[in-house]
């Protein structure tokens, strides 16, 4: 059996606080801010081999930290925040950046509204990231609350 054990163990630890995680049983929504290199196990494996481990992902089965995104057309803003929480927090603090754009795109935010998205998150940095131990799902909840209350951006959250 191809080994993905290290990764699985890490994920189990990071999702332990959530009895029922959205996105599937192995989904690592509990990613905490300032985590450093998340998922070090599989990354290390990939770096020594340049290869893929186990079942090669082929588009539709792709997930983030075990999160199922099957059937969704876009990747989903939640999954993106979770996948790149540190980069996202940096971009929000600075007010722009690739991770910020990626999250906007994943929420389906149209190009003409991305500036508003960037401004909203930047101005509400303290709401999104109230402390250093905030988790991805808390950030997502705050982000969607902010978007819902925003005239321009409420259309992108249900």
């Amino acid at each position: 059996m191809k080994k993905l054990m290290t990764g699985a163990v890490l994920l189990a630890v990071s999702s332990v606080a959530f009895a029922e995680a959205p996105g599937g049983p192995n989904c690592g929504w509990g990613n905490m801010l300032m985590k450093g290199k998340s998922g070090m196990g599989p990354h290390f494996l990939a770096s020594t081999t340049n290869g893929t481990s186990g079942n090669a992902t082929f588009g539709m089965t792709s997930g983030t930290n075990g999160c199922s995104v099957n059937g969704t057309l876009t990747y989903g803003g939640k999954a993106m925040v979770n996948a790149m929480l540190d980069e996202f927090s940096t971009d929000v603090a600075v007010g722009h950046g690739n991770a910020l754009t990626a999250v906007a795109v994943a929420y389906g935010v149209a190009e003409e509204d991305r500036e508003a998205f960037a401004a909203l998150t930047h101005q509400n940095f303290a709401v999104l990231f109230p402390n250093e131990s905030v988790t991805a799902d808390e950030v997502v909840a705050q982000l969607e609350t902010l978007m819902k209350a925003d005239m321009q951006l409420s259309q992108y959250v249900i």
């Binding site: 191809k2 080994k3 993905l4 054990m5 905490m32 801010l33 300032m34 985590k35 450093g36 290199k37 070090m40 990354h43 290390f44 494996l45 990939a46 770096s47 020594t48 081999t49 340049n50 290869g51 893929t52 481990s53 186990g54 079942n55 090669a56 992902t57 082929f58 588009g59 539709m60 792709s62 059937g71 057309l73 876009t74 990747y75 993106m80 996948a83 790149m84 540190d86 927090s89 940096t90 929000v92 603090a93 600075v94 007010g95 950046g97 690739n98 991770a99 910020l100 754009t101 990626a102 906007a104 795109v105 994943a106 930047h122 940095f125 303290a126 990231f129 402390n131 250093e132 131990s133």
Partner: protein
């Protein structure tokens, strides 16, 4: 419920002869055109001509890729079986040949009259295509990564951009990557061996590009170069259709030739029929050479740079005034230092830059470890400060000079001819190096302090015309990463091969393995000083007991002076049997053009009891 099914079934049975007839008819047409010899068909089946004329074998190493049991060797039988399978009952659904071999179907429709085929519901393919769409294809080259045997030469993959990809949306693009399916229990060295022997299977993987960014830019700290291709809509469609056919299909994976880069070329050949990219790589497919082949075929429009996390950080630190750099580390250790008078009163731009550098540096350091509550708290304080000062940050500046992109480096292979004088002998040398780059060679397009040589042969022709082996470097890797206040990487070297050594008054060919580890520094711009502790194992018939270990030291200085690079080195070694060696060498490399150089070498060796001096000049041609 049952009656409609029965009606449906009987209808199908009635329809089947018609479908079968159409398959026969299609096969008659295909025979008339000898369609199995068509280049497109051979490319779609990954067929390669065998040694015997008229024989074929597919690179796809997987029965699931063929519809005929002889399909692996027989493109004709495979074509016949494909046409027959297209006429199979529609309720096979996703398992139907029409659903699995969408590119074959699409092409055969353009070549043959294929009337009235059953219409299976290809739900999986529809789902795949709903996700994987592209308006642009980009060839991606994650740069050389010396810390892993498999990534030393870099890597290539494709990226499928959906819509206008710019400033972040390409994070959500799909990466198409061919990689070995590895066993995690295999370590790096074993991987290299197994990879050489074709011991792995490789498969295509389609996954989000941001994961590649995280893997290369962040985890491995590698710069990424991206080369957008000018594939049109139909070519891009062809590529994606064929990609679907390759889902979970195994190919034998060979580290040197049938590797990631080779398979990427094959995909591009399917995308643009008639273009020949693979024939130039019969023996090895070094990733950067495959990038050049794609450029040479006129398929590349542009290039862009995606810097590694460490590259960004270095640029941020370099942009700071010298007197502020100490504060980068201080702030990371104690963010409350921001309240000190000297940091309060500085210009807003400097303060914002300083906070950004300190934050990025702290995060970069943290990335090597697991989450630490104290570092997290300090990082957060700096991030808060950064958010408050963000308005004062200068806009991001351009990050790399396209003139230093890896495709502009000297050729991967090298031919060299040299003239030498050693004591009272004169001889000529003839050298062939299969790959790739030495420290003192023209560094444009290569990372600083990297030497990546595999397969360097050198012959000696003496005054009597006798030809003999001068040296053989099987592996010769040096990674010199300078340390400074901020970065503390290890420098190291690994070498193995055959060389000449004077032992007990005569010259012996010896086999050797060497490893070394140590530090390097950049005393000033354009220079690099290094010192390594070394260990050596040598097999030398000049010794009473031929197999001898040794320990030693090695130090050197590299200096870039425009077209000239100077490399001076010193080495000392002591063997277990008491034998001692001292060595001093000087290598000057003069760049004549991108593909030509003159090389001067002076080598003094004290191998006790005698010392010897060799001087040589070499002309080097890269291709």
């Amino acid at each position: 419920m049952r009656a409609p099914v029965a009606v449906l079934m009987s209808l199908l049975i009635l329809l089947m002869p018609a479908a079968a007839r159409s398959a026969d008819d299609a096969w008659t047409q295909a025979q008339a055109k000898s369609l199995w010899q068509h280049d497109v068909w051979l490319k779609l089946g990954h067929y390669k001509a065998g040694a015997w004329p008229g024989t074929w074998a597919s690179d796809a190493d997987d029965a699931r890729f063929f519809l005929d049991e002889r399909g692996h060797e027989d493109p004709r039988a495979e074509l016949e079986a494909t046409l027959a399978a297209f006429a199979a009952p529609a309720e096979l659904g996703d398992a139907h040949a029409q659903c699995r071999f969408v590119a074959r179907l699409h092409w055969l429709r353009t070549e043959l009259e294929l009337p009235e085929l059953p219409q299976p519901d290809c739900a999986e393919y529809r789902e795949f295509r709903a996700l994987v769409q592209a308006t642009r294809v980009v060839l991606v080259f994650p740069s050389y990564y010396l810390n892993s045997p498999s990534s030393m030469f870099g890597h290539t993959l494709l990226r499928l951009d959906r819509g206008a990809a710019d400033g972040g949306s390409e994070y959500l693009s799909f990466a198409v990557n061919f990689g070995a399916l590895v066993d995690a229990d295999d370590n790096g060295l074993f991987y290299a061996f197994k990879g050489l022997a074709g011991g792995y299977s490789g498969q295509f993987e389609v996954d989000h590009y941001y994961k590649k960014i995280q893997e290369y830019n962040r985890s491995e700290n590698r710069d990424i170069w991206e080369y957008p291709l000018n594939l049109n809509e139909e070519e891009t469609e062809r590529l994606i259709r064929h990609l679907w056919e390759l889902r979970q299909i195994n190919f034998a994976y060979y580290f040197f030739d049938e590797n990631c880069s080779y398979r990427v070329l094959e995909l591009l050949e399917v995308a643009r029929p008639g273009v020949d990219l693979t024939s130039g790589f019969p023996l090895t497919a070094i990733p950067i050479d495959t990038v050049r082949a794609v450029q040479g075929a006129g398929m590349v429009d542009d290039k862009s740079f995606r810097p590694a996390q460490g590259t960004v950080l270095k640029q941020r630190i370099d942009a700071l005034p010298e007197n502020l750099r100490a504060a980068v580390v201080e702030l990371g250790e104690a963010p409350q230092r921001l309240d000190d008078a000297d940091l309060q009163t500085m210009p807003a731009t400097d303060r914002a830059r300083l906070i950004e550098a300190a934050y990025r540096y702290l995060r970069y350091s943290q990335d090597k470890t697991t989450r630490d509550p104290d570092i997290a708290r300090r990082s957060y304080q700096l991030l808060q400060a950064l958010q408050q000062q963000a308005a004062a940050l200068p806009p991001d500046t351009a990050l790399a000079d396209p003139g230093t992109s890896p495709d502009l480096s000297h050729g991967s292979r090298r031919l060299a001819i040299g003239a030498w004088s050693e004591e009272n002998q004169e001889y000529l040398s003839l050298g062939l190096r299969m790959s790739l780059h030495s420290l003192e060679e023209n560094r444009n397009g290569f990372p600083m302090g990297a030497q990546i040589n595999l397969g360097n042969f050198d012959l000696r022709i003496d005054e009597d015309g006798d030809v003999d082996l001068n040296r053989l470097d099987i592996v010769d890797i040096v990674s010199l990463s300078p340390r400074d206040r901020f970065f503390k990487p290890l420098s190291w070297a690994v070498t193995t091969g055959i060389e000449r050594q004077w032992t007990a008054g005569s010259e012996h060919r010896v086999a050797h393995v060497n490893g070394g580890a140590g530090v390097s520094r950049t005393p000033w711009s354009g220079s690099l000083a290094y010192a390594l502790a070394t260990a050596r194992l040598e097999y030398n018939h000049g010794f009473a007991d031929p197999l001898q270990p040794a320990a030693g030291l090695r130090a050197g200085w590299l200096q870039d002076l425009g077209p000239v690079t100077m490399h001076w080195g010193l080495g000392a070694e002591r063997f277990a049997n008491g034998h001692t060696r001292l060595r001093a060498e000087l290598r000057h490399n003069l760049r004549l053009s991108r593909q030509q150089a003159l090389h001067l070498e002076v080598l003094w060796r004290d191998q006790q009891p005698e010392d010897t001096l060799a001087i040589g000049v070499r002309y080097q041609h890269y291709y």
